[in-house]
Every structure is written in structure tokens, then in C-alpha cells.
């Protein structure tokens, strides 16, 4: 399985979830596990470029596919990805646990709608739970991310 452009073999148990594989077998602990039933969105990663829940996919299902996690969207030490940068500027994270999932979902949203309407933003982030921010700052961040991405 290719994760963040790095290939490695999958040798884990068949029942291992992709989320656990990424976190514990690949050490990519930025993908968080919040509910393991697909509701919270903390574990969202890009699967062949599209955001999906990694807790609802088996690790083995990733074989032959390309996975991108939060660690793979900006060069280490380099500038933040526009979506990350927007989250920072807009105070769109507090505890930071849901944040990687939101960032991955927003990347998907902006790919679909580079200039999202308010309604598209609302729908685009509506599959992720955040218990800290009340979402106001996340909405602002999505708008800001669209601006930054356009630059």
C-alpha cells in the first residue's frame, strides 16, 4: 500500500482497520480514531484522492491504492497546506483531535467546489464532528482556504 507516496507491504491481520494500520503499523498517528463507526470523521483520509473514513475500510482493502494522510499534505518543516494554513488563521481548531479529519474532508470539498457557496461549505463539513469550536471558525476557515488555494 502506498501511503503518502511511500510504499510498504501489508502484513497485518485481515481484520485490522485501515485507521489502525495507518496509526499503529505505519506510525502515522495524525489520523485519529473517534468513534469507529463512521460518524465522527476524525479518521478521514484520502483514498485515491477522495476523502473516506479509514475506520470503515480494512487495511487490506488499501492494497494497490494510494492513501494520503494529514502527514502527507504538506512537506515536513515546509509551509502548511492552504487548508491547514486557513485553519490556523481562523482559529478553527482547539483540542485538535478532529482537525486532521476536517482538513482532509475540506481538501475533498475544495476539489469538488473550488469556490464553495455557504450551503456547499455547510454540507461539505457536515460529516465531521467537532466538540470544541461550534463550527463557526471552521466555516470561516473553509472560506479562507478557498481564497488561499486560489492564489
Amino acid at each position: 500500500m502506498k501511503v503518502n507516496k511511500v510504499f510498504d507491504e501489508v502484513t497485518c491481520e485481515h481484520r485490522r482497520l485501515l485507521s489502525d494500520y495507518l496509526r499503529h503499523d505505519r506510525g502515522l498517528t495524525g489520523t485519529h480514531v473517534g468513534c469507529e463507526h463512521g460518524v465522527c470523521g476524525c479518521c478521514t483520509v484520502l483514498f485515491d484522492g477522495k476523502p473516506v473514513r479509514s475506520c470503515l475500510i480494512l487495511a487490506w482493502q488499501g492494497v494497490g491504492h494510494e492513501i494520503t494522510t494529514i502527514e502527507g499534505i504538506a512537506p515536513p518543516g515546509g509551509p502548511l497546506h492552504p487548508v491547514q494554513q486557513a485553519f490556523h488563521e481562523c482559529h478553527a481548531l482547539q483540542c485538535g483531535f478532529c482537525t486532521p479529519g476536517f482538513v482532509m474532508a475540506v481538501i475533498g470539498l475544495l476539489k469538488q467546489y473550488p469556490n464553495p457557496t455557504d450551503e456547499q461549505i455547510e454540507e461539505g463539513i457536515a460529516g465531521n464532528l467537532c466538540r470544541c469550536t461550534g463550527y463557526a471558525s471552521i466555516r470561516r476557515a473553509v472560506r479562507r482556504a478557498a481564497e488561499l488555494s486560489a492564489k
Binding site: 498517528t29 469507529e36 494529514i70 485553519f87 483540542c95 457536515a126 461550534g134 463550527y135
Partner: protein, 784 residues
């Protein structure tokens, strides 16, 4: 020019790491740790006949299985965190139950295995023979005491307390008008996005226990573990790393896993980790809010409250590990910002066969606020008065501070409001809310609250200027997202005259700061914030003293600014702080930093030893802050909302928050706290509830059925700040962590009542509930 960071919208220092996926949450820590699972009781009340773990122990990949009899502390009752004389029948659970379970989710056995999946397989093989007992669910059923949760607790009453100010009987008798009201608030859950987790390692070589714990109080965990395992505290390190939200339940200690994981790590000689899953979080983690109130209010024809008599039952759950702080807060805060000349409050904290309770954001206040605000709305309705006007007539005025409410507070003193401007809150909220939007079934919601924040006893901080000129500072309390690393840096940077980016904060790590209490009760900014201020000021004084010797100036003429100590009025005469740090140590090191600069300054010759009496090496200091009393934050929320009369869907058209948390350190952070708090309030008012059936089974233990709001359910929130500084701490701050959530239930109820014209006396609501209330209201109207 001196830059002041206090009050600025400084962007957060902690973001970069978290945004890159480089945060460090407890479950992120591995180091070859074994994984574990708790076997939990499926029944709410049962006698345990036997536990057979042999099949589980024999499963491949299982390393150990523990029951109570395997633990040296297996027979010990877990501690009562905050004892109280009125808690006459306090009861706590054992780490692992072996005779009796009193809530579904109570831990019975602990399985350690190579992976969590194997541990779960093994947990299914643990055979527990239960003898089911009658279940007590809901405060009303508990108070009837047809069955007992604890055989030796008569009436299921853990604690009873009555307090009175004035003469309520007489005042009620004399009141021109009286009203009896009944209010009910159901349990809710904090549900942080990260569940709880504990990781531990024992080093037999160093005789050192290291524990990572998603706790809100690492210092207390450390103290308890040291005693339990007979180790000096210096041999126990407890670290709360990044914590994915707390909101109260993570302040509870000890949860069984907090003992079992370190114990197993010591026994097995390998790191052990336990990470809670979402399903068990619903029953294993403390909950809150269940209360039933009976209110008798006496008032005059102008709507002024003359007497208030409240008798309430608090659903304590199966045990009272946290004491009775919740009903005490409810009792103390019920009168809110209003003058209640005669006030009597009695409560009973009762046992039920449900998960124990301890504070969840708001901690006793949302229900208190709901009761008072609903009572005022009822008075307004009865008198045909405007609801804001009734509040106006009852508010405590700005010249009445300090104001003694006359009943007891959680710190043992009475409730004394230190400062505030309640009329201004109300008027600003009404003005900001603006006129009623067009449309059918639109109602106005209104709610005011006070919040005693920043309770003691104390917090401390250590601040040090490094020879690089950078500043490191640490406090004992951990962060669960409150931006401690940013706001403490602002406080410290101001005192030391450095750039906020040059201050690095560590919090919640006993290796860096071993003393402290915890992050809860909206106390971080008040206690640790002021401790940072105190310690930084001590460092500043020390820096001036050292610099004075070298600049041949009077310390009183010096200031810290621009990263240097310099003479006021002649900024070119100064020493970089880095150099002062070097000079602070009579032994010099050769490497870089301020060393070279420091060589330019020859210390003035002085008699006596190089380190004089009372002097300490290093440009550092440890300071503490212990508040004399709570700093009382306050606020007013107002909303326009609409209920669809056919589907009973709720639409919040406009939501306004006016709040006063004293001096604001960082508006960005304060607004975030409020927005998040309101969202949790809306969740708790209209979406979330913990639905226990009469058998004590939680019927909605998943995010599919426990309906935490998504973005689509939360409206935009308009926030106005009012600042009345607290006179009780040097920074003039008040806490803000819980403020957002407190009045939301009251506001939503008030608005829905206004929109639909049906009485709302309970929380939470839902379309189903509104449908039923509307149907029964129209039925009873038609039969009248």
C-alpha cells in the same frame, strides 16, 4: 514602544503541530505497549456469583487477565475526591467489581493482550455469572426508594442539604402571588472527540513509573499512584499530553484503568496501554445533568421575586466519587444575577443504577439557570409582562458588589459575587438581537447566568529565561484545547518584555511542574494564568536586580522591553535578557546564547560569597496564585428561533451572546470557547440525551443515536464582550470555559415556549417531544 500581548488576537502556538498530524495524544504513544480492554457489566444492577477467566487467559496472544482478587488494592474502595460533611452516605466502587455491579459498564475484569482485537476476543471469553437485581433509574424512582442501590444507604440518599437565607415561609405567605413549578433536566454527556486513554511504563532499573493519561489533572493522578504503589512522588511521572477535549469527565479520578494500566505495566515489565472505544465511553465515563426541581416562588404584581423555595433531587448515579459538588453548585448558583431576598434550597443527592456523575461543562449550572429563567418566564407570563422587563426588575445592580447570595459555595465560603454589570448585559443582548424576524411560529429566547469561576485552592508556574533569550514556562494543569500555550505565553511575554513567540509553554507534565490541581471549573485563566503572571514578575524583578548591578543603575529605573533589561527613558542603555540569564549564574558556560554579550559586563565587585544569602542561580522563578474567592463571570444569551409547526424542526434564526469574563487575554480564544460552549448547549437542549431504559440500559450508546450536532445544526453566533475586571486577581480575569453552555437550555426552552405557546418545563427537547407536548396541549385545550 512596548508591545502588550494581553488582549491581542494572538494566533495559537499549538496549531502547527496539531495541523500537521504531529500532535501527541495518549493513544499515539506506542513503544511496544501491550493493549488492554476492560470487561464491563452488561447489567445495571446485579450480584456477581462467579467470574471465570480461564478461557480468556488461555487464548493465544493474551498476556494477563486480572480480576479484583488478583489486585493488591482489589478490596480498596476508590477515593471520594471531595468529601463533604453532608455526604453522609458516600460510596465508591472498587477498581474491579467482584461482588456487586451497580451500573451497566462497571468494570469487572481487565485483559491485557498483544493487540486490542485479541483483548476484545478474550474479554468475550470471560464468564461472569450474574444474579440480576431490581434496577433504580431516574431521580424520582430513586427517591421513592422501593429498591436500594446500596443496601446500607437508606432511601438511596447519599447526601441531603438545606440552606436558607431570610425567612422563606414567611415571605411566601406574605407574597401577593405564588406559583408552583416543576422542572426536569435529563442526563447528558460531554463526549469529547478523544475518549479516555492511559499508557504506562515501569522502569525497574530507575524504579520509575511513567504514565501518560488523557486526564484533566495529572498532578492528582501522580499523587494517588505514588501512595498506592508506595513510591516517592519523584518516582512517578504523569503527563497529560495533547488531550482531545475534556469538558469535565476527564477531571474525575480515579477511573479503574488509571490504576490498572500502571499496575499491569509494573507487573508485566512491558508498557501497557488502554484506549477507550466510543461504545464504552458512553457508559464508563461519568455523566451529568439529571435533576428534578420543585419550585415555589412568591412575587409581587410588578414581577419582583420575593421568595424562592427550591427542592431538588440530583441523580448522582451509582457512586459518589466526586462528592456532592454538583448539587452544591446548583444550589449556590440558582438565583443567578437576580436579587432573591428569601431563598431556601434543599437537595437530595440520590443513588441510581446509572453511570456515576461528576462535572460536565457547566457543572450544575445549566439546570440551575434553566430553573431560574423558566421561573422568571412563568412570572412574566402570569403577569402579562415582557420577559426582559421582569428580569430588569430583579437584577442585582452594579453598585451592589460584592454581593452575598447567602448560601454556600464549593470552596466552603458563601457565594459572593465580586463584580459585574448585569443590566448592561441584558440591554446589550436585547439591542443586539434586534427586531423579531418575519414568519410564523417565531419566538424569542432569553437567558441570563452567572458563573463562579477560578476556584482555588491554587496553581503554580515556573518561568525561566534561557541563555538563548528564549523563555520556557510550565504549569501543572493540562490543556484540552484551551490554548494554554498561547495565552500563558501572552501573560509571560508582557512581564518579560519579549516576543510572544519566544515563550514556550509546557502544561500538564509533572516532570516540568509537579504541583497543581487541574483544568476544570473555568479556572485555568484565573489560577494558572495569574500564577504565570506572578512567576514571570518574579523573574522580571530578578532580572532587574541582576541588570542593575551591571548597568550601575537603580533596579527601580529599569524596565523589561524588546528582549532586554534597559533603563527607562534611555533604551540604548540595557542588557539583553539572554545576557542577564548568563549573568544570573555565577558559573559561566562557554556556548553561545547570551554568553558573549555577557562577557562585556563585569560584575560589580561586592562583598560576601558570589551567591549571597537568599539568592538563587538562574533567571527563573516559581510562583503561585491562590484566589481569595471565585471570580464571577456573567452573561446574557438571546435568540430568535422558529419551530416548524408540522415537523417540529427547530431553526435558530439568530443567536446573540453578551458575556463578561473580566479582562480578556485573547479574544480569539475566548470567542472560540463561547462558540463551542453554545454549540454544546444546543446539542444538549435539542439533540443529545442519554436514554436509559427502566432496566438501566443506555439505549443510544453510539454517535448514530446520541445526536451530537454537526455544523448543519449550529447557527452563527454573534458575540459581544463586556469587561468588568475581577478585583480578586492581578490580571482581572474571570473564567470562560463553561460560560457558553450554561444558559442555552433556558434560552431554547424560552424561545420554543414563545413560538409554540406551550409550556416547556423539561430538557432536552426534540421534535418528538414538541409534537407530544403540542398534541397533549391541544387535546387538553379542546376538552376544557
Amino acid at each position: 514602544m512596548t508591545t502588550r500581548w494581553f488582549g491581542e488576537r494572538v494566533q495559537r502556538a499549538e496549531d502547527d503541530r496539531l495541523l500537521r498530524g504531529k500532535g501527541r495524544f495518549t493513544d499515539d504513544i506506542d513503544d511496544g505497549a501491550l493493549e488492554s480492554v476492560l470487561v464491563r457489566s452488561p447489567y445495571a444492577h446485579a450480584r456477581i456469583r462467579s467470574i471465570d477467566v480461564s478461557a480468556a487467559r488461555n487464548l493465544d496472544g493474551v498476556v494477563a487477565v486480572y480480576t479484583a482478587q488478583d489486585l493488591p488494592f482489589g478490596g480498596t474502595d476508590l477515593p471520594i475526591l471531595i468529601p463533604h460533611p453532608n455526604l453522609t452516605h458516600g460510596r465508591t466502587q472498587k477498581c474491579l467489581a467482584s461482588e456487586r455491579v451497580r451500573y451497566a459498564g462497571e468494570a469487572v475484569a481487565f485483559v491485557v493482550a498483544e493487540t486490542r482485537a485479541i483483548a476484545e476476543d478474550a474479554a468475550e471469553l470471560v464468564e461472569v455469572d450474574y444474579d440480576q437485581l431490581p434496577v433504580v433509574i431516574t431521580p424520582e424512582v430513586a427517591a421513592r426508594a422501593e429498591h436500594l442501590v446500596h443496601d446500607d444507604v437508606p432511601g438511596n440518599v447519599a447526601a441531603e442539604m438545606t440552606q436558607e437565607k431570610g425567612d422563606v415561609e414567611a415571605a411566601l405567605k406574605a407574597a401577593p402571588r405564588r406559583k408552583h413549578l416543576r422542572f426536569r433536566y435529563e442526563r447528558g454527556a460531554a463526549s469529547p472527540m478523544e475518549g479516555r486513554a492511559v499508557w504506562s511504563r515501569w522502569s525497574s532499573e530507575e524504579r520509575k513509573l511513567t504514565v501518560y493519561d488523557s486526564t484533566q489533572s495529572p498532578t492528582s493522578i501522580r499523587g494517588g499512584l505514588a501512595v498506592l504503589f508506595g513510591l516517592p512522588e519523584s518516582q512517578v511521572d504523569v503527563i497529560a499530553p495533547d488531550v482531545g477535549g475534556g469538558f469535565g469527565p476527564k477531571i474525575m479520578l480515579f477511573y479503574p484503568d488509571e490504576l490498572l494500566v500502571p499496575y499491569a505495566a509494573m507487573q508485566l515489565g512491558r508498557p501497557v496501554k488502554w484506549t477507550e472505544d466510543r461504545q464504552e465511553h458512553f457508559t464508563a465515563v461519568n455523566q451529568e445533568r439529571g435533576q428534578v426541581h420543585e419550585v415555589e416562588v412568591g412575587f409581587d404584581d410588578e414581577g419582583r421575586v420575593l421568595a424562592l423555595d427550591d427542592d431538588f433531587i440530583h441523580d448522582g448515579g451509582a457512586y459518589t466519587p466526586y462528592g456532592i459538588i454538583l448539587p452544591i453548585i446548583t444550589a449556590g448558583q440558582l438565583p443567578g444575577p437576580y436579587r432573591v431576598p428569601n431563598y431556601r434550597v434543599r437537595f437530595r443527592d440520590v443513588y441510581t443504577n446509572a453511570t456515576p456523575t461528576s462535572p460536565y461543562r457547566g457543572a450544575g449550572r445549566p439546570h440551575a439557570c434553566f430553573v431560574m429563567e423558566r421561573t422568571l418566564d412563568a412570572i412574566a407570563a402570569e403577569l402579562g409582562l415582557d420577559r426582559a422587563e421582569v428580569r430588569r426588575r430583579n437584577l442585582i445592580q452594579p453598585d451592589e458588589f460584592p454581593y452575598d447570595v447567602g448560601v454556600g459555595w464549593q470552596d466552603g465560603n458563601t457565594v459572593i459575587y465580586d463584580s459585574g454589570d448585569y443590566p448592561k448585559l441584558l440591554e446589550t443582548a436585547i439591542a443586539t438581537l434586534g427586531p423579531k424576524p418575519a414568519g410564523d411560529r417565531v419566538g424569542m429566547g432569553l437567558g441570563m447566568y452567572v458563573e463562579g469561576t477560578g476556584v482555588g485552592p491554587y496553581e503554580g508556574a515556573h518561568v525561566q529565561v534561557l541563555v538563548s533569550g528564549k523563555v520556557v514556562a510550565a504549569t501543572g494543569i493540562p490543556s484540552q484545547g484551551q490554548a494554554h500555550a498561547t495565552v500563558w505565553a501572552q501573560v509571560v511575554a508582557d512581564e518579560l518584555g519579549v516576543d510572544v513567540r519566544d515563550v514556550e509553554i509546557t502544561s500538564g507534565d509533572t516532570r516540568r511542574f509537579p504541583w497543581g490541581v487541574g483544568t476544570f471549573a473555568s479556572r485555568g485563566a484565573v489560577t494558572a494564568g495569574n500564577a504565570m503572571h506572578v512567576a514571570a514578575r518574579m523573574v522580571a524583578e530578578k532580572a532587574k536586580k541582576i541588570a542593575a548591578d551591571h548597568l550601575e543603575a537603580d533596579a527601580a529605573d529599569l524596565e523589561l522591553a524588546g528582549g532586554a533589561v534597559r533603563v527607562k527613558g534611555s533604551p540604548q542603555r540595557g542588557i539583553p535578557l539572554a545576557a542577564v540569564a548568563v549573568l544570573s549564574n555565577p558559573v559561566r558556560y562557554a556556548f553561545g546564547g547570551g554568553t558573549e554579550v555577557a562577557t562585556q559586563f563585569t560584575p560589580k565587585a561586592r562583598p560576601g560569597p558570589p551567591l549571597a544569602d537568599g539568592e538563587e542561580p538562574g533567571l527563573e522563578a516559581t510562583g503561585y496564585f491562590s484566589p481569595a474567592g471565585s471570580a464571577w463571570a456573567s452573561g446574557c444569551h438571546a435568540a430568535w428561533l422558529r419551530v416548524d409547526p408540522t415537523t417540529f424542526r427547530l431553526e435558530i434564526l439568530k443567536y446573540v451572546v453578551v458575556h463578561d469574563c473580566g479582562k480578556v487575554i485573547n479574544p480569539l480564544v475566548v470567542e472560540g470557547q463561547i462558540e463551542g460552549g453554545v454549540a454544546q448547549g444546543i446539542g444538549g437542549a435539542f439533540y443529545e440525551r442519554l436514554a436509559y431504559d427502566p432496566d438501566g440500559q443506555l439505549r443510544n450508546a453510539s454517535f448514530m443515536e446520541f445526536l451530537m450536532p454537526y455544523a448543519t445544526e449550529i447557527p452563527r453566533i454573534e458575540i459581544e464582550h463586556i469587561e468588568t475586571p475581577s478585583p480578586l486577581n492581578p490580571l482581572g480575569v474571570k473564567g470562560v470555559g463553561e460560560a457558553g453552555v450554561i444558559p442555552v437550555g433556558a434560552v431554547i426552552a424560552s424561545g420554543i415556549e414563545d413560538a409554540l405557546g406551550i409550556a416547556i418545563n423539561e430538557m432536552p427537547l426534540s421534535p418528538l417531544k414538541l409534537y407530544e407536548l403540542s398534541t397533549s396541549a391541544s387535546t387538553s385545550t379542546s376538552t376544557r
